[in-house]
């Protein structure tokens, strides 16, 4: 492509003298350079987009993986006979009389003994100072053990206890000695001791299953918090969404695609559905608050209400994808069914619907994945701010008792002041993304396996 043929009185004057197809003139050069530039911009745009994705994923993985490990200390505690069960009854009711506070003395002594046994150079004489290095959950852990094993009282039992979040942060490189200067929870001397304990092999970092399966903890014990209870909340919410949005969505799509007459009512419904799909999710939260909680007086923070709100939100998505897969079934199938005497209803339910099912399921799974990650409506119906420290007992409680949901729990952690919770929030995101990835993967497999080309 050259401009040689353009040399005429109207066009831009070309360089004087001979022009050749082999030598590019300046205008061609300019145009080719512009072409290259444009192409580069396009590549750069795609590159920047992919780069953002990579940065996001790297940030998630780098900040989130430490949440899956936790620092533990192996602590032999002597369960004092005279303190817990002086009359040697072995009765759990007697042992229960000692509150968690009453275990502090035993634990302090155990820590002092531990220092002495390993010959560690401890600057602290009082056990209470050493206790700052372990989690505030330890007394409860020891007490639960004592109540469950009354026969062990009087013995020395080795507990694997959680280190406090500051110690854990030091092990993970989050807490430095300088940062502790203004911190009243831990001193720099503690960290010297931590170094010694690590060398002595009594302080170890290992995989923390409780982060995945455990429950949330109060603001002051990030080392104990887990996402398990909110996972259960999310699960019950997804059950509600699945069992409501799939049948309702499929029924609505069948009507609109197969039976609806072409009139203004149908038009209104169709425009309505496409607009509902673009309504901001927070508006659905307001709807849920006003209708389900203010008007119908359903319990706040219940997965049932969350599920209902998310159902309304995902319905348009499911209807749109279901209609697309119904439309993809060729009319010849319907005609053949009608030809052998089936009614319209029979042709749809016996032939069209089964053929469209893979597409419908794919759309439903993608809709569920969208609902699983949605946070904003849950904020309004009170699924945050609630500390999910218990698992629901039973199925009815699972639907009706206050609980959190995975994204709401992550938001809750992100809002707390302690940076140790930020690590939990990133870790929670990894778990959430694993769920989403799995669901998308299942959807892709379904599509690959059952998709039919007509």
């Amino acid at each position: 492509m050259t401009d040689a043929s353009l040399s005429g009185p109207d066009s831009t004057p070309l360089p004087q003298g001979k022009t050749s197809l082999l030598a590019q003139d300046s205008r061609t050069k300019r145009r080719n350079a512009a072409e290259k530039r444009f192409r580069f911009y396009g590549m750069a745009a795609v590159g920047v987009g992919v780069l953002f994705l990579v940065v996001l994923l790297v940030a998630i993985v780098r900040n989130g993986t430490p949440a899956f490990t936790q620092t533990f200390i192996e602590l032999p505690v002597q369960l004092s006979q005279e303190k817990l069960d002086p009359d040697q009854t072995g009765d759990p009711e007697v042992i229960k009389k000692t509150s968690t506070f009453g275990y502090n003395g035993m634990i302090d002594q155990a820590l002092l003994d531990l220092m002495a046994a390993h010959g560690l150079d401890s600057p602290f004489d009082k056990g209470a100072d050493l206790r700052k290095m372990i989690s505030a959950s330890v007394p409860a852990q020891v007490r639960d053990y004592a109540i469950a094993h009354p026969d062990q009282i009087g013995q020395t039992v080795v507990f694997k206890v959680l280190a406090s979040s500051r110690v854990d942060g030091y092990e993970k490189g989050r807490v430095t000695r300088e940062a502790l200067a203004r911190d009243k929870n831990l001193d720099a001397e503690h960290l010297d001791l931590v170094d010694q304990m690590r060398d002595a092999g009594i302080l170890k970092r290992s995989f923390n299953l409780d982060f995945i399966l455990g429950t949330d903890a109060s603001e002051s014990r990030p080392e104990q918090a887990g996402i398990g209870a909110s996972m259960v909340g999310s699960f019950f919410m997804m059950l509600v969404v699945l069992f409501l949005s799939l049948p309702i969505g499929v029924a609505a799509s069948i009507y609109l695609e197969e039976f609806a007459p072409k009139n203004w009512i149908t038009d209104v419904i169709e425009v309505n559905i496409s607009n509902l799909a673009a309504v901001p999710s927070i508006v659905f939260g307001i709807l849920g608050l006003a209708v389900f909680i203010q008007f119908a007086e359903l319990p706040q923070s219940a997965p049932l209400v969350g599920g209902l709100v998310l159902t309304l939100m995902t319905l348009p998505t499911i209807i749109i994808s279901t209609r697309a897969s119904l439309k993809a079934v060729p009319p010849s199938i319907r005609d053949a069914a009608l030809g052998v005497g089936a009614s319209k209803m029979q042709s749809v339910f016996h032939h069209v619907l089964p053929l469209a099912m893979p597409g419908i399921l794919t759309g439903t799974i993608l809709g569920l994945a969208q609902a699983l990650g949605e946070t904003a409506p849950l904020l309004l119906i009170g699924m945050v701010g609630y500390i999910a420290s218990n698992f629901p007992d039973g199925i009815a409680a699972g639907f009706l008792d206050p609980n959190s949901a995975m994204p709401a729990q992550i938001y809750e952690w992100a809002k707390r002041a302690d940076p140790a919770y930020y690590e939990r929030a990133w870790g929670g995101i990894i778990i959430l993304l694993v769920f989403l990835l799995t669901m998308n993967f299942i959807a892709i497999i379904l599509r690959r396996r059952f998709e039919r080309r007509w």
Binding site: R31, N32, E35, F38, R39, Y41, G42, M43, A45, V46, G49, V50, F52, L56, A59, I60, P247, A251, A252, I254, Y255, L256, F259, V268, I269, N272, I273, N275, L276, A278, V279, P280, S281, I282, V283, F284, I286, L287, L289, A290, Q294, L315, I319, S343, M345, A369, L372, G373, E374, T375, A376, L379, L380, G382, P407, Y411, A414, I429, L432, L433
Partner: protein, 487 residues
């Protein structure tokens, strides 16, 4: 007998109806299926639907209506001298509910008998102790009015429950009898079943309309309530946002609008160029292998939940911007949360939105237009700039508008990344807040739904709903109008 049992009873009757209907139809045809109008199972379904539909409709309506009716009639028992505002009345009523449920438990567990309960007086019996023993803690002693109201509440509920069960049960039986009596081989069972199924399908389809109506009514009712307490001129034209739950709040929407607009603008400034160039490159330049690899990668960005972007803004982008523009360098930024932080991250989120919509639109431009342009000697970039983009422009505008409506309605990124201060400022490195973020902050926590500070959230929601709806309708209209040109 709770509603579950009558529900199960109706279900059981439906199963019996199915069996009876099917059997009777078969018998009337002498066991020869060819003589019947419909397939045998339709006669069964017909009988089952005759049992289920009227009985369950009445049951549902009853369950909704009974609490309202009884609530109202018991409220009349409480003398008007006992309360001054509706709030106090609802407090008394919630006491009544608790006492009534406590009495119910006491009777079912056998603590007292029904006649004893009838004779119970507020002064003579220790009602509080009795309630405490069945696990219902009452703050103060139960007074005579509350006790009488609670007793009547319990009694009326019990009567209504019995009545309901009788009515629903009879209805189910009558439906079954009618259906079975009408069944014979010439009965058009399939038509009657299909009519009911079609009605169910229509009901499901109209749920979408009901949702919209629900949104509009719940927003509208509370917004009107709000404007009764707070003048609408101050709301729409006020330039200060300073809610205080003690009263005397200033609730002007302008600073929130400005924050929303500013953040969306930055988000679009990031997303539109990148998204558009990416779409052009992927549809016009990229070899197939690159396209099949890069397009899904970009779309992953759209599948990531917004809470992830929010956290990314709060913990990664915010601190990063702070080191670049914070007090240690140029000093434009004083905290990690800022308009820039939220805008940038929201822009990343919107890239796939813009790119995949534009991609579809660019692909819809007919190949003949490209060929014509190449034939005249234009380069690829000249074709894109002078032929394809002008042809696709309305669609691209529609895509950008859809992205803008997404940006305006986005919540989690701004809640976590933009800060909480409502400001009218030009500095993009300052913290500002948006309409969505304020809806969240006004409605979380135990807000009193009667105060203007909580109700303002509904007015904000209404504004948001109207704006995003208008943007969507406009965008869809543009896209649709454009599509008609080439189809």
């Amino acid at each position: 007998m709770p509603a579950t049992w009558i529900f199960l009873f109706v279900l059981a009757l439906a199963v019996i109806g199915y069996v009876l209907g099917r059997r009777k139809a078969m018998a009337s045809a002498g066991g020869d299926g060819r003589l019947m109008h419909s397939l045998p199972s339709y006669y069964g379904y017909n009988a089952a639907l005759f049992v289920l539909v009227p009985a369950l409709l009445v049951l549902g309506a009853w369950l909704v209506a009974q609490p309202m009716v009884i609530e109202r009639s018991v409220q009349h028992m409480i003398p008007e001298t006992a309360y001054e505002t509706s709030g106090e009345l609802s407090l008394i009523m919630s006491d009544v509910h608790r006492v009534a449920s406590g009495l119910e438990t006491a009777v079912t567990t056998g603590q007292i008998t029904a006649p004893q309960l009838e004779a119970m007086q507020a002064g003579s019996t220790d009602v509080r102790g009795l309630l405490g023993s069945v696990g219902v803690a009452v703050g103060s002693d139960v007074d005579a009015v509350t006790l009488e109201a609670a007793k009547s509440y319990r009694a009326r509920n019990a009567t209504a429950d019995t009545l309901r069960n009788i009515v629903v049960g009879l209805l189910a039986l009558a439906g079954m009898a009618l259906a079975v009596l009408r069944t014979d081989k010439d009965y058009r069972a399939r038509n009657s079943v299909e009519k009911v199924v079609l009605a169910l399908l229509i009901l499901a389809a109209s749920l979408a309309v009901l949702t919209t109506l629900g949104i509009v009514f719940s927003l509208l009712a509370n917004t009107i309530q709000f404007f009764k307490l707070y003048p609408w001129t101050d709301f729409f034209f006020g330039t200060t946002w300073a809610p205080s739950f003690g009263g005397g709040s200033e609730l002007g929407i302008l600073p929130l609008f400005w924050g929303t607009f500013y953040i969306s603008l930055i988000a679009l400034a990031v997303a539109v160029p990148i998204g558009l160039f990416a779409a052009v490159y992927l549809s016009e330049y990229a070899p197939k292998s690159v396209r099949s690899f890069a397009k899904p990668l970009l779309e992953v960005l759209a599948g990531i939940p917004t809470i992830v972007y929010g956290l990314f803004a709060l913990l990664t982008v915010g601190p990063m911007l702070l080191t670049a523009f914070g007090p240690d360098s140029v000093g434009w930024m004083s905290g990690g949360t800022a308009v820039m932080t939220a805008g940038l991250v929201m822009g990343i989120m919107l890239i796939p939105f813009v790119s995949s919509l534009s991609d579809d639109i660019i692909n819809a431009v007919p190949q003949s237009m490209r060929d014509g342009s190449y034939g005249l000697g234009a380069t690829k970039s000249e074709t894109v700039k002078q032929v394809i983009l002008p042809a696709a422009l309305p669609g691209i505008v529609g895509a950008v508008l859809l992205a803008a409506s997404r940006a305006i309605g986005e919540t989690m990124i701004v809640v976590l990344g933009a800060g909480a201060a409502a400001r009218l400022s030009m500095n993009p490195f300052e913290a500002m807040t948006t309409v969505t973020a304020k809806i969240v902050s006004q409605l979380t926590g135990d807000a009193d739904f009667a105060s203007p500070e909580a109700l303002v959230a509904f007015a904000l929601g209404m504004t948001l709903f109207v704006i995003t709806l208008a943007l969507n309708v406009f965008a869809l209209w543009i896209v649709r109008k454009y599509r008609e040109q080439y189809d």
